[in-house]
């Protein structure tokens, strides 16, 4: 192990303990609520809001996971050994994010276990969800293999190149198919668009970068003097630039969708008027813009705490964006009438919020476990 790859192992154990206890408590509460109330513990409704906050959380974690994997694979393939100190950690972080997302999905589905064995063998070729599940399985297997292979002392870029490419392909595929799930709903103009898979890929990469920044620096207790020079230079250098440009691209998609939506007169697009009149939308834009300014400034982005702030701002902005996208596609009822309001009102229930906290704890448990077991250390 070189100094460049050594992390502050001391911090991982307390994180593991706190996150572990937090996970047990929140998962227990969620299980209790679900077993006593069933899915009535969620605020979804047959009026038209079928996919609520749990799907927002699930999608956010899944796309964060694929985004982190994309960042890791792109970074390793294009910069080689320069990215080595971040490679194993990022891959493990992707797995941590995936576990959080899948856990939430399991709580949301009516029959999660049935889903696991029925979907892969259903051969439902016309369903985007079928392909997405296959892609997630491929992604998970590749990710696990790559983590295992990357830990081998003798692993070189050349020896890992094939598997890294395959993992990258699966990460892109999962993200794009997640976009197709929404983008293919042609009668929901809020969602339907051919560019959604591309928008999801960009958004994933932005999220992936934010999480890599945050959790890498967290591993060193956010203390600049503990962060190896090699990581500091990657973060302040090219990766910072890529982060800034990725935010620009993401903003193009967000603002473009908003403007088009506000111009549009098609049924369903009125959702945009509600979205832009909500402070959440402006918080999202402000968060992303601030992070953009930070990452574009060479002087600012050298500071580790500023990097952490930018990462947090991006995480918040992306989460709000995901919420707006998934809920926004459903808040205008398909048939408005005497008992269907022009806009459905929706606010997550306490159980739905608990799912988010549970997913955060679980992802932190898995991530910290990697640190404690030394899996996140590159050789």
């Amino acid at each position: 192990m070189t100094t460049a790859t050594m992390d502050n192992k001391g911090i991982q154990m307390p994180i593991l303990l706190v996150a572990g206890i937090g996970f047990l408590i929140t998962a227990g509460l969620v299980m209790f609520n679900l077993s006593s109330q069933g899915h009535a513990a969620f605020n979804i409704s047959n009026d038209g809001l079928f996919w609520g906050f749990p799907i927002v959380v699930y999608d956010f974690f899944l796309l964060t996971s694929t985004g982190i994997a994309m960042v890791a694979c792109f970074g390793f393939l294009f910069t080689g050994e320069t990215f080595r100190p971040l490679f194993a950690r990022s891959l493990w972080l992707a797995l941590a994010g995936l576990s959080g997302g899948v856990a939430v999905l399991m709580m949301e589905l009516g029959y999660p276990l049935r889903a696991m064995f029925l979907i892969p063998f259903s051969f439902a070729f016309s369903s985007p969800l079928y392909w997405k599940v296959l892609a997630v399985i491929g992604f998970t297997v590749c990710l696990l293999l790559l983590i295992w292979r990357a830990r081998a002392t003798q692993s070189t870029l050349d020896s890992l190149r094939g598997l890294t490419r395959l993992t990258l392909l699966f990460a892109i595929l999962v993200t794009a198919l997640a976009g197709v799930v929404y983008g293919s709903q042609s009668f929901r103009p809020f969602w339907a668009s051919g560019d959604i898979p591309a928008a999801f890929i960009v958004e994933s990469i932005v999220g992936g970068l934010a999480f890599v920044y945050f959790f890498t620096l967290l591993a060193y207790g956010f203390q600049a003097d503990k962060v190896p020079v090699s990581i500091r230079s990657v973060f302040a250098g090219r990766m910072g630039g890529v982060f800034a440009w990725a935010i620009v691209l993401h903003l193009v998609f967000v603002v473009g969708r908003t403007v088009n939506g506000l111009y549009g007169n098609v049924e369903g697009l009125q959702a945009w008027q509600y979205i832009v009149s909500s402070p959440l939308y402006w918080i999202e834009l402000a968060a992303l813009m601030t992070a953009l300014v930070i990452m574009f400034s060479h002087a600012l982005r050298r500071n580790i705490l500023v990097q952490v702030a930018a990462a947090v701002l991006v995480m918040v902005g992306l989460f709000i964006g995901r919420y707006e996208y998934i809920i926004g596609g459903q808040i205008i009822p398909l048939f408005k009438g005497s008992w269907a309001p022009p806009v459905l009102s929706y606010a997550p229930s306490s159980t739905e919020w608990l799912l988010l906290i549970m997913a955060i704890f679980l992802a932190n448990v898995v991530n910290a476990l990697g640190g404690v077991l030394g899996i996140t250390r590159s050789r």
């Binding site: 589905l109 009516g110 009668f187 009125q270 008027q273 048939f335 408005k336 005497s338």
Partner: protein, 253 residues
């Protein structure tokens, strides 16, 4: 092989909701789980305002988007009759079909009860079903989404498969006025007092439903979706066949 379809004459429909009630009784539906519903809405502004209504069952689409998106093939199109049905033994409750149905006719009844007291707690089921009403129809076919569903699955109108599928082969129409056929007529059609509903074989050249569609320019709801409903609406008079979707509170939107 029949391709069953329904014709609803909006000029005759009085919006009495007898169809909704008959469906709920026939199929033991929960309050609010209206497989068949009549949607009321108003168009225009005072003083030029009109109250309108639209009966809306599942359209049993020829090209159903709910079938296309289902990742487990739980929702399927029965080639014999053209019914769109759900196999509750395969449904995982992902609700993708609900999201993908342009007509909003699918129900996930694990959500909060729309009417209090929650009748599921008044008549709880000991077999893991949604509820156990004191009276329920004898039909129980989970592989076709018939009967009372278990928790965690989606339900929808079956076009009264349990009745229609028993009809003698080759009949062009199932009409409640023909004594020997009335038992095979869907509940919503049979009970319709002003006779605004007709049910028959869309592939049968002699069927009355085909004649009505041809003679009265039957239209399909949201035909632009390409789902090709097997439910047609007739309207030539005062009623709109397809409601103007932004009719309500457009200015507030």
């Amino acid at each position: 092989m029949a391709k069953w379809g329904m014709v609803i004459d909006l000029d005759t429909c009085t919006g009495c909701q007898a169809c909704t009630t008959a469906c709920a009784m026939e199929n033991s539906r929960l309050p609010g789980e209206n497989w068949q519903d009549v949607l009321f809405y108003h168009e225009g502004k005072y003083p030029n305002v009109q109250l309108k209504w639209l009966p809306r069952p599942c359209m049993h689409c020829e090209n159903p988007s709910c079938v296309s998106v289902c990742p487990t093939r739980a929702t399927y199109k029965d080639p014999e009759g053209g019914f769109v049905l759900i196999d509750w033994n395969r449904c995982i409750g992902c609700k993708y079909c609900q999201v993908a149905c342009p007509y909003g006719v699918r129900f996930y009844t694990d959500e909060k009860a729309v009417v209090q007291p929650d009748i599921r707690t008044v008549f709880p089921s000991e077999e893991g079903r949604q509820w156990d009403p004191p009276w329920k129809g004898p039909q129980d076919d989970p592989r076709r989404g018939i009967g009372i569903q278990p928790h965690g699955v989606v339900s929808k109108c079956t076009f009264c498969y349990h009745k229609v599928s028993q009809a003698p082969a080759g009949v062009p129409d199932l009409d409640e006025d023909i004594p020997e056929l009335k038992e095979y007529v869907p509940a919503c059609v049979r009970v319709c007092a002003p006779k605004a509903r007709f049910f028959g074989d869309l592939d049968h050249p002699e069927s009355r439903v085909n004649k009505l569609i041809a003679d009265h320019r039957g239209t399909r709801l949201k035909d632009e979706t390409g789902n090709k409903p097997q439910v047609y609406y007739l309207s030539g008079g005062a009623s709109a066949a397809v409601p103007s979707l932004r009719a309500v509170h457009q200015d507030k939107a």
